[in-house]
Assembly symmetry: C2
Homo-oligomer: 339 residues x 2
DNA sequence: TCAGCGTTTTGAATCGTTTCATAGCGTAGG
DNA sequence: CCTACGCTATGAAACGATTCAAAACGCTGA
């Protein structure tokens, strides 16, 4: 193995000099090989190999103006829901020869803005974003500057931005109806802050379903806000719920990771599931069915969600489109079991 | 909400014209505000705001030569192990004001090469890679062209490349010793292809531990190669194992996702765990302890792994460093239970 | 031999920044 | 009143590619 010391990167003119042609010809070999005679092409390719030449993307892009790259920003890359969505995006972009730059905002609008700026500065074709706040003006501004923008996992609050979403109200409502049908009349909801639209929507769907069932949400619903939308958050929230005077008989969680934390905490506290406390998750991630107490959860078409988002981003038709998928309640023993 | 039609992106000279200064001054406002008089600065900033000016990153980079971005390529972004590593990387880069471009190679060397090229063309400072094949010459070539390269999750096979890894032989050996101590004398190993170094190392560690215990690996070890290192792969592999004439009494899995598939398949086949078949996973992901049969698994310091990798990448010292972490066996009921 | 034509190659202009040598300007000191 | 100096601001060069009008080349047929 040879250990060459780093040297200056070869440029197209270095190649041209070595192959004794002009830079224009080298560029043609790279981009329109058919316009170059075979002999010249050979010579240029040899020089490229010799020098380990890799074209400078910045220069290319500066001149050509555009690249086949898209960006995506999700809330948390460690959450399987978002990685499944990301896979859907990647698969669709791959078909079109595009590449994806992925980043996670940590629900932090400042980080979101930083990554958006990075993407814009580097001239991506467009971005897919799970907004970390209710305000989408900055995204509309981005669109007006010529980038394609697709809102991920939330219906667009403005006409002009395309969006792909799952009906969160329907999902939460289905879960709530299921619990009410089982006789629960007091339900805890470990939810994220309402600044995240999905969280607000789910709270609303849950509330509406309770009203439909003739219950007073003020009585029947205890919403606990958790800041970390993961297992740790679920644990903290469940500890709060267990400390309540009039303890609910069921807990809905904003996602399956939080439900994992809830189950862990309930087990530690010796509360049986579901007889002591029914638990419902959200997302139906891969392991939901394999837990000690298999988890009732709301399944979302994650892969499709990402795939379709990328589809909209690539669509040459410039008009905004809005796609909504329907979620599906998957019932398991964390609500119907005998434990 | 106003809906401005996309117009041409403003450039620094548009700003200069509007503020009636030279382009150099605008650049100074952007990069060395203290060298510009407050009055001029104000005027320029107003023009920037007016025009929605966002500097062109390609042009900047072309001239300045470098950006504070690093790339990472993992095998599968849907695998919690890799996303935890990615979080570690992100956290360290964030401290240094760097941003991360993340991609997954799908264990496909061609995809890996494509992303490496993309990263290089865009002038990242360096890349962290979980190589998808045994050959690292292309990475050494990258390094010789001036990029910083850190191998992720595998010890470097060459001196010149920095690496961060967990001792895979030790992890597999610890798991094997545990199984042998429990009396198992025939062990199935659902492993990935040996072209992936971790897989080869784990097979070797397992084999060595069996020899140490006085067993003949030819007899005691049944290695089943699975192509998908996830739950589906685990399911397929387990089906093969169950069809064997002389059925092993324990199954080691290359990761927890595969173990999830194994547990699912065993349950479907009515094979009790661990009395009918003990199961060991690898990675100790968040849900491992919460499964129907809590999973014995090899814990790796994932977050640290990523954090340290980014650390090496940022280290101004150019010499190659090699960091190895030790894994830890976490024993649960999938091997010691009464099921 | 030369005009005419199609193919291949050339080289200068261009993209939007940063950088840096230099010019302009106001002020303090002699 | 002139010089020197410190601030600011200027504007051209440079980064490394693509693009395209024009030149060079190689043939064919008269």
């Amino acid at each position: 193995m040879t250990t060459t010391a780093p040297r200056r990167r070869a440029s197209i003119s270095d190649v041209a000099r070595l192959a004794t042609v002009s830079v224009g010809t080298v560029s043609n070999v790279l981009n329109r090989p058919d316009r170059v005679s075979p002999a010249t092409r050979e010579r240029v390719l040899a020089a490229i190999g010799e020098l380990d030449f890799v074209p400078n993307g910045s220069a290319r892009q500066l001149r050509a103006g555009t690249i086949t790259t898209a960006g995506a920003i999700v809330l948390d890359i460690a959450n399987p829901f978002f990685t499944d969505v990301a896979r859907g995006i990647e698969d669709r972009l791959d078909e079109a020869g595009y590449t994806l730059m992925l980043a996670s905002s940590d629900e932090n609008p400042e980080r979101e803005a930083r990554y958006l700026r990075l993407f814009e500065e580097h001239g991506v074709q467009g971005v897919m974003v799970v907004p970390s706040g209710p305000d989408v003006q900055h995204l509309e501004a981005l669109r007006s500057r010529g980038l394609r923008v697709v809102l991920l996992d939330r219906p667009s609050p403005v006409e002009t931005l395309s969006s792909v979403a799952v009906d969160d109200r329907a999902g939460a409502a289905a879960a709530a109806r299921h619990l009410v049908d089982l006789g629960h009349e007091r339900i805890a909801f470990l939810n994220g802050p309402h600044t995240i639209r999905q969280c607000a929507d789910r709270a609303e769907g849950l509330r509406a379903a309770l009203v439909d069932a003739g219950l007073d949400p003020g009585e029947a619903l205890v919403e606990v806000t958790i800041t970390a939308l993961n297992a740790d958050g679920g644990q903290a929230g469940t500890e709060q719920v267990l400390a309540l005077d009039d303890r609910p008989t069921a807990t809905m969680c904003v996602n399956d990771l939080a439900a994992l934390g809830a189950l862990r905490t309930l087990r530690a506290a010796g509360v049986p599931v579901p007889s002591g406390m029914a638990v419902v998750g959200y997302d139906d991630v891969a392991f939901a069915g394999e837990l000690a107490t298999p988890l009732t959860s709301v399944r979302q078409p994650t892969h499709q969600l990402g795939y379709r988002a990328a589809d909209l981003l690539l669509d040459p038709d410039d008009s905004a489109a809005h796609v909504t998928f329907q979620p599906e309640l998957v019932v398991r023993e964390s609500t119907t079991g005998t434990g």
